[in-house]
Symmetry: C2
Subunit: 110 residues, 2 copies
Amino acid sequence: MSNKRYTCHMEPHEPDLADIPVTTVLAALADDVRLQIVRALVEDGEAACGTFDFGVSKATRSHHLKVLREAGLTRTRAAGTSRLVRLRRDEVDRLYPGLLDAVLGARSSA
Amino acid sequence: MSNKRYTCHMEPHEPDLADIPVTTVLAALADDVRLQIVRALVEDGEAACGTFDFGVSKATRSHHLKVLREAGLTRTRAAGTSRLVRLRRDEVDRLYPGLLDAVLGARSSA
DNA sequence: TCCAATGTTCGAGTATCGTCGAACCATCGA
DNA sequence: TCGATGGTTCGACGATACTCGAACATTGGA
């Protein structure tokens, strides 16, 4: 592995979804905050990190966005001082057809 | 809550899937051993607990079956000295259409 | 050049999870 | 009645996960 520090605004690590174990993808979706982020992304298309305010600190929010990104679910690009996040919907749908719809359309409680 | 001990072969707790948070269902599926169990259930229909031998102790196996059951994904019935487990496929498919297909059909690595 | 705004990283605390051996319970057959 | 078989529960352990405040990095504007 590289011993180069992963400094702040480097190109974030965005793996190919096909290289991610299914369990990792499911685990990434198995959290309330992250699910709210995903819902917001479906709704708004692309959004700056700061727009996701779900009652957690910005450190925690950053952590959740990292989990989603490293699970191959989102992509991030820099835009000024912000970073814009968007869902990799097409890739997810191709690899796991129906998954997002099933999860997001869930009319179960909570 | 009841203070009655949940002794061994009582009727197991099998909640209505609609009462389970999505995150709980996803978390239940986000484990390799449990996913193997689900795959085996899809394959074999109904199977005794003991038939799931995925390199874990029987205590661990029992734990995983409990997680699946309490997530509303499986149903268990006693049969002699064994307990037969089966997937609640129809209910899962009705509440999360496409979820199981997407997860099980995953042609991603691992 | 300095400051404010936006995120990320670090370190630490707490909680939850996966795992096991040991002890236990329930059922069936000898 | 006793033992063997099949599962469950308990208690403990180590590993992960979620959370936060604090410190840092990057960008853009005053």
